[in-house]
Every structure is written in structure tokens, then in C-alpha cells.
Symmetry: C2
Subunit: 504 residues, 2 copies
């Protein structure tokens, strides 16, 4: 397949990247200076991010072909995407020229934020070939495309555009009636206008307004949007209750918006009925849990990037006490609830998260020997060389677990110069029932050379002290096992039943 | 610490949960029928979600105390949170009664969506004790609290409220000037009013509007908000360019909003200057990558829940070809790019994601023997019992990797009745360089009894065929190793240098 990109700004370049990385050949025409560098920078951004969405490979990249005219770009294209500046005459001229040279069956789409397809079609030789496909920046990552036909748009072109957009991983949303700025940009424009008032009147700065969005309703909108969120806010009484509760606010000075729709019974009925259809049979409790599972997943994702609302979560986490010393002789290196999102298709926590928990226990152990964040920042750390995990029981999402850690030394691995760290983690479910074990060998490394070296004296000394204490303890059952080794006391592999964590 | 919750609706109950799960005692007063059940349902939701945000334990839960009057709830409270319906007189009465009995130093906060603190203070005996702390539903998960003082609010009460909100993991955002509906709800109200027009005029349904938000700008707002997003849209020319580009739209019919601010030079200067301060020294390329890393993390989170925009990503992923058969004798069971967000503090992919990749390779192997999704849906699956990982080289975030898989049999583990699956995965970096190996023992289980059982005949047969083919191949180097075992040809643990994946 071949896409022609007319106009190489941020939007055009994003379209080019979206098509290219999904295996399409892409022709680009933009007379502007320096366009080529900018387009290629956007495509580089797409290369570093889009494939990371998927656990499979995208098709091989298509060819990027630079053209010196609309005609040359459009001539053999299955899809022509116009993304020139927001001036009607310019857009009409480009679409007209493209249509003169494009195959009759090609989709002729405009990225316009504001114009109606009928505005763009007027004067065209084949109006039916033209429609609006309005994407959102960054086009290579955000799925939404507003697909807006006019009454004159050929239904087969509409169907084709939807099928092809889905084929490149997007979410085409057909809009029922053409209107200036379509749907999303009308919502954005209303919020933008209100935001300008807030800045103008000194109520809030741009940074404060952004924070108010991304630490609050922005997180809701990312997963449910506006109406379903309000339906939940209505509680068990649902959408009608929400409207009854907040409908009157339409008459209050809650925004600068002065032109408000009248909440007629007819409109209330329509909203409630559409909202019922949207939500289907799910009751409010199920919706709340769906929402909460999504919010937890999003907030954890932002926490891992230490960004936005994730910064708040990360800061609060740092303020929480470390896993305690524990009653027994061994340090408790993890004590927490596991997220529900860690559950896999086998109905229990996926095996990779067991290693995530053991990695946290290893981090905590490094802190205990003085090799925590500051030590790493100073250029030294421990890397895992080898791990052995046994799954003895199933951990479910939402359960509370704890991990205790024993340093192993003597016997097959002398502590040596502290270059090697041999750990054994025990993961227990609520009732202190052993669910899994992790045995790990780590090497102390210089983060610049990426090669092993002895730890600083302070760390080596702390390590020796802890080793000495743990050496007195019995060697843990299962240490030194290899995969599929018969346990001494049985002919089956260790603890075959009750079975263990999932390969899901 | 003790919080008094006056009004047990969705918001009041959310406050109760937020304080309780952060170790506060909580008193609740609400005269309504059935309040107790509803509040406890909200607290149950919080118990299943809030702790999952953190990799550490929250403090032990406080006590939940039901009171039969405002006085009884407020008398010993450090914080009184009023969340009664949006009627000014009702709120004033509750705040007045609470103030009569609350300690003088207690924070007296209202959850009001719309009223100004000065509205609430009028007639109060100690106006300085009262301010607005406006949260967002669900209060136990969303960090944002708009903290709105009036000129009469005591600065020490303001400071105390901010410190205490941070202590329960929230993001207090002080608002500079009191105004109806504060900041976030003004933006929401503007969007809500526009959305009502769209439904009324038949442009879009509630479901389509929600989809337009959550598959598009909602994902941007969840991590950057409005102004910084537009700054990026302005490209290298930044905020001024964006305003120059889209400023004129303020005069167009892009929303029903009729009252628009004038874009004076003064306003443009203020926005550009605030935006510069907000963004600091980061250039647009860095902002784009920050944005993209957040979008990838959020979209992957939603994909794992198969919700909203994540559904689109999941559907596209399913449409992508499986890892190919591969050139060699072994099946390629994973072929992909690894996300940048998998990088840890040691500057390479965290060890838990190596097991995630091996788990994907195991899933693919299960598909190859006919034990894929349909088989699992029918009630049978394989669970991992035991794993052994070796890290031989460092994989960096963003790299392309592939995994090949060999079935092991004979020798120490006969294939037996197919109940046991013994796998050896090899993870290679781009150039075919071995980076890690995973050896795994799986047991075939009945998902109802959670106990091992023989696989269906079709699976057993396929397994035997694949085993027979792989049995001809040499046993992989490293199979059967135990942790810290000396390799035959060296005195160091296998492949100490160059070192391997991270314990981070």
C-alpha cells in the first residue's frame, strides 16, 4: 500500500510515520524549507515509541519517498492525506491537484481541525472521493481519527477509509453530521477558551491548569471519557441522578460559557437512554472497579516514569516505611499487596511479577548493605547473573505477601571479596504460607566499565556482618536445585501439587 | 490523626477511605438511610485498589467510627471534611455546627464543587478556620485536591491542610483567587456544556463522545494537561506559534462558547512566559519523548486491561503476524522491540522483563502445541513450576530482540505422559548475540481442580512430535545448571563478564 502525505508539519509527519511503520510506502510533498529534517525527526520518535506498544513485531518499514510536487506524490497512492495549514483555499487547491492525479479509488482525506468536508468538496471534480480524517498529535501513537463524511461522500470511500485506518492500528470514529471542528476539537476549544479566561483573570497559571487536569479528571478521561465518568458519579441512581444533581449548575457561573442548552425532558431522556446503551448491563459497582483497575494501571505507569500524577504516587511511596525487620532472624525485604492487574489468563499472578517481587527484595537487600540509590548514583551497583525460581503455591491479584531474604555463603560460594552476592528469597502469602522461592547470584559492577569489581569497604563490611549472621542459619531447602531435579524425598519434581504460578 | 466526614455520599465516602487507608481514625455522620452500606462499599473499593498503587505497605488501617450527630463526629477531629449536597445553606449549617464542637486548630474543609470559601465563611464564628478542599472522584485514587482559601482564611490552616493532604498521598493545588467552581470544574463545565450541545444536535452519542475523548486527547491530558500539550503542538516555535496558528479559531464557531477572551499582546505574553517557566530548559524534542514514553506506558497499561484505547492496541497486536518459524531448526517464539519503560536504574532492561519475555515465548510454545487461548478457555493450561535464568549480556530499552525455544526431553526428564513440559529459551539481541537463557519446567493442569493432569490427546501428540524433532539437537549449554555453579571451563561463575541484567 502507498500513502501520499501532502504537508509535512507535525501532523503530516505523524501520518507518514504511522503508515511507514505499518509497512506502507509513503510519498511526501512539502515545499517548506527544512521539512525533511523535521519529518525525519518525527519518524525517529515514532520508531522509538510505536513498536514498544506491542508484544509482537510490526511489519517491515515501507519506503519513504520525497516528491517535488503534489502530482508526483499522489499519482500511485491508495491514500492521500492533506495536512496543510488551516486555510480553506489552500486545502481546496491541494485536494483538487491531488485528485487530478490520484487513482479514482484512492481515499482523499483532509486532516483539517475545523472545516467541514462539504467546504472542502466544493468545486472538486469528484466530491465523493473526499472526506475528513482528523487525527490527534502524536498521530503515530494516538489511535483516534474522526472520520467525517459529507452527504456527498461516496459510502465505499468511507468504508475503505475505516478499514485502512484500522489496519494501521487506529480507531476511526465516524461522525454522524458534519460540523465545524467536528467533536473532540469542539470539547477542546470550549476547555481552551475557559482556560484562557483563567489565565487572563489570574486565577491560575498554565502550569497550575495543567496540573489540575493531569492529577484529576485527565486520568478519568484517559480511560472512560466524560459521560460514563459522570454516570458513575451519579452512583447507584445513575445518569438521571447526576443530571438532577448537577443540571442546575448549567444556569450558574461555573464557566464563561453563556450559550447553554436547555435541559428538556427530551434531552435528559436521550442522554440517559444513550448512557444506558453505552454501559449495557454493568452495574455501578462493576463500573467503579473497572475504572479503579484502569486508574491503578495508569497511575502505576506514570509512577514508573515519575511523571505527572505518578510523581505524587512515587513521593508518597518514598514516605512509606520500608518493610520491617521482621520477627524472625531474616529481614523482611518486601511487604505489600500485589496489584490485580498482575493477574494473567490462568487466574493468578503472572510469573514475571514473582521475579519483580524478588527484584524488589534484592533492591531492599542492597539498601541493607549500604548499596542503595546513593551508591548506584555514585557509579557502582549489583547486577543479577543468574536466578532460580520455584513456584510452590498460587498468589492471586490483590493478595498481601511478604518476602524474607537470606544471604548464602560458605559451601559452594565463598563470600570472597564481596564481588558476589548470593541471595535466597522466600515469598509468603498472608498466612505465612510459602508460595515461591528465588535464588539469585549477583555481581558487584562498576556502572561505567560495566565490569565486575570489589565493592567499597563500607559495603563489603556490612555484607560480611550480614553474611556472618545468616551463615548460622540452616541452608534453605531448595537452594542449589536445578530445573526438573528430583527432590530427595519424592519422585515428582518438587511440590508438583498444589500447583504454582503461571506461564501466562 | 482523626478525620470527621460529614456527608457520606460518593465524595464523603471516598474521603473516609483515603484517610482510613492512610492510618487515620475516621468518624462519619450522615443521617441518610442506607449510608453505612454505601460508605462501606466505597471503602471496600479503596481497599482493593489504593494499596496496589504502591510497592510498599500503607500504614495499618485506622478505626471507622459511626456517629449520630455532627457534634459527635467533629469533637476530637484534626480534620473536618464537609461533603453534603450542593446547597449553600446546608453547607453553612454543617460547618457552623462542626465549628462549634471542633478543636480550634482543626482544618474545616468543604468538598464543594462550586461555592467560594467566602460564601461558606459568612456567618461563621471563626471564618479563618474554613477553606475549600475540592477532591475528585474516586477520592481514594485521584491525587488532585483544589485547595481554595479566601482572604479571611488563616494562613496556618492553609499550610496545615496542604501538609496533611500530602501526608495522605494527595496533590494539593492551591488556587490563587477564589472563583465559582474553582479551576478544574470550570474546564469540565465548559466541556460538559459543549458535550450536551453535541448530543442535543445529534452530532454524536454519549458513547461516541467518550470514545473521542479516551482514544485521543484524554490520553494527552492524563499526563501533560492542556498548555504543555499545545506547546509541543507548536513544534520548535513553541507556544507563540501555537497561539498564532490556532488563536484565530477563537473567533470561529468551533464551540458554542460565545464569550471569548481577547488575545491581547499582554495575554499572549503572559501565556508564553508562564509556559516557558513551566517547561524550563527542556526543548521540544525532549518534551515529545517524555510525552511519548508516558503515552506508551499508559497505552500498555490500558492494553493489559483491554479497555478504551488499549482495546485498539490489543486488537492491532492480534492482527500482527506471530513470530516466524525462523531460519534455524528452532521456532522463533518472540520477535519484538522492548519498551524503553522497561529500563531500570542500572540503565538496562530490568530482570523481571526478561522473565516476561520468556513467559511470552512459553505462551507461543503452548500455541505451537495446540494449548493456546481456546485450550485455556476450555479449562486446561500449563503452569510454570520452576525456572532458571542466566544473564549473559545487557539488553537496553528500545532494542529489538528474538527468542528461540527448544523442548528438552530424555535424560533427566522423560516426556512421560506430556504432563511435564521442559523448555529452554534463548534470548538474542539484534545481531544474534546470546543475551540470556531461560530454562523452565511446566506442569499441565486442570484449571478447575488446579491440579496436574495429562493433556488432551491432540496436545500430547503435537508435543511428542516437537520433542522428537528437538531431541535430535544438542542439549543447550547451561541447561541443568544451578545458581552459582562453577562452569566446567572456568573458575568464575558462568560468564561473569561482560555482565548482565539488573537487580534493579
Amino acid at each position: 500500500m502507498r500513502a501520499a502525505i501532502i504537508g509535512g508539519g507535525v501532523i503530516g509527519a505523524g501520518w507518514a510515520a504511522r503508515f511507514l511503520l505499518n509497512g506502507w510506502d509513503v510519498t511526501v510533498f512539502d515545499p517548506g524549507v527544512d521539512t525533511r529534517r523535521r519529518v525525519e525527526e518525527v519518524i525517529d520518535n515514532a520508531r522509538r515509541s510505536l513498536p514498544a506498544l506491542y508484544d509482537r513485531s510490526l511489519p517491515g518499514e515501507g519506503a519513504l519517498i520525497w516528491c517535488d510536487s503534489v502530482a508526483a506524490a499522489a499519482v500511485a497512492a491508495d491514500w492521500i492525506q492533506e495536512s496543510v495549514p488551516e486555510r480553506l483555499e489552500a486545502k481546496r487547491a491541494v485536494l483538487g491537484e491531488a485528485q487530478r492525479h490520484a487513482p479514482g479509488g484512492a481515499v482523499l482525506a483532509s486532516s483539517t481541525s475545523g472545516f467541514k468536508p462539504s467546504d472542502l468538496q466544493c468545486g472538486a471534480r469528484r466530491p465523493g472521493q473526499i472526506l475528513v480524517c482528523h487525527p490527534f498529535n502524536p498521530v503515530y501513537l494516538l489511535p483516534l481519527v474522526e472520520v467525517v463524511p459529507s452527504p456527498a461522500t461516496d459510502p465505499s470511500i468511507l468504508d475503505r477509509s475505516i478499514a485502512l485506518l484500522e489496519a494501521v492500528g487506529m480507531r476511526p470514529l465516524p461522525i454522524r453530521k458534519e460540523i465545524d471542528a467536528h467533536v473532540a476539537d469542539r470539547l477542546l476549544e470550549a476547555a481552551w477558551r475557559e482556560a484562557l479566561w483563567l489565565v487572563r483573570d489570574g486565577i491560575a497559571t498554565t502550569a497550575e491548569i495543567d496540573e489540575a487536569i493531569r492529577c484529576g479528571f485527565g486520568l478519568r478521561w484517559a480511560q472512560m471519557g466524560l459521560f460514563e465518568t459522570y454516570r458513575i458519579a451519579g452512583g447507584e441512581a445513575g445518569m438521571r441522578h447526576f443530571i438532577a444533581q448537577f443540571g442546575p449548575a448549567l444556569q450558574w457561573n461555573w464557566s464563561r460559557l453563556t450559550d447553554v442548552p436547555e435541559l428538556t425532558d427530551d434531552l435528559i431522556d436521550r442522554i440517559a437512554e444513550q448512557s444506558d446503551r453505552q454501559t449495557g448491563a454493568r452495574d455501578v459497582r462493576r463500573l467503579e472497579r473497572l475504572r479503579d483497575d484502569n486508574l491503578v494501571a495508569i497511575l502505576r505507569a506514570l509512577k514508573s516514569n515519575d511523571h505527572g500524577a505518578g510523581r505524587t504516587v512515587a513521593a508518597h511511596e518514598r514516605s512509606l516505611p520500608d518493610a520491617g525487620a521482621g520477627a524472625g532472624p531474616l529481614p523482611v525485604t518486601v511487604s505489600r499487596q500485589v496489584p490485580r492487574s498482575w493477574t494473567d489468563y490462568n487466574g493468578h499472578v503472572n510469573e514475571s511479577h514473582y521475579l519483580e517481587l524478588f527484584a524488589q527484595a534484592t533492591d531492599r537487600t542492597m539498601e541493607l548493605i549500604g548499596a542503595g540509590a546513593d551508591y548506584v548514583a555514585a557509579g557502582k551497583s549489583y547486577f543479577t547473573v543468574e536466578s532460580h525460581l520455584r513456584h510452590l503455591d498460587e498468589v492471586r491479584g490483590g493478595e498481601r505477601i511478604r518476602v524474607t531474604t537470606q544471604l548464602l555463603a560458605g559451601g559452594r560460594l565463598p563470600a570472597g571479596d564481596g564481588r558476589k552476592l548470593h541471595l535466597f528469597h522466600r515469598l509468603e502469602r498472608g498466612a505465612g504460607r510459602l508460595a515461591a522461592t528465588g535464588e539469585h547470584l549477583l555481581l558487584h559492577v562498576d556502572l561505567k566499565t560495566r565490569r565486575s569489581c570489589p565493592p567499597d569497604a563500607r559495603v563489603a563490611a556490612r555484607l560480611e556482618r550480614l553474611l556472618a549472621r545468616h551463615a548460622a542459619l540452616p541452608r534453605p531447602e531448595g537452594a542449589g536445585r536445578f530445573v526438573a531435579q528430583r527432590a530427595a524425598h519424592e519422585r515428582e519434581p518438587a511440590r508438583a501439587d498444589p500447583p504454582p504460578a503461571s506461564a501466562g
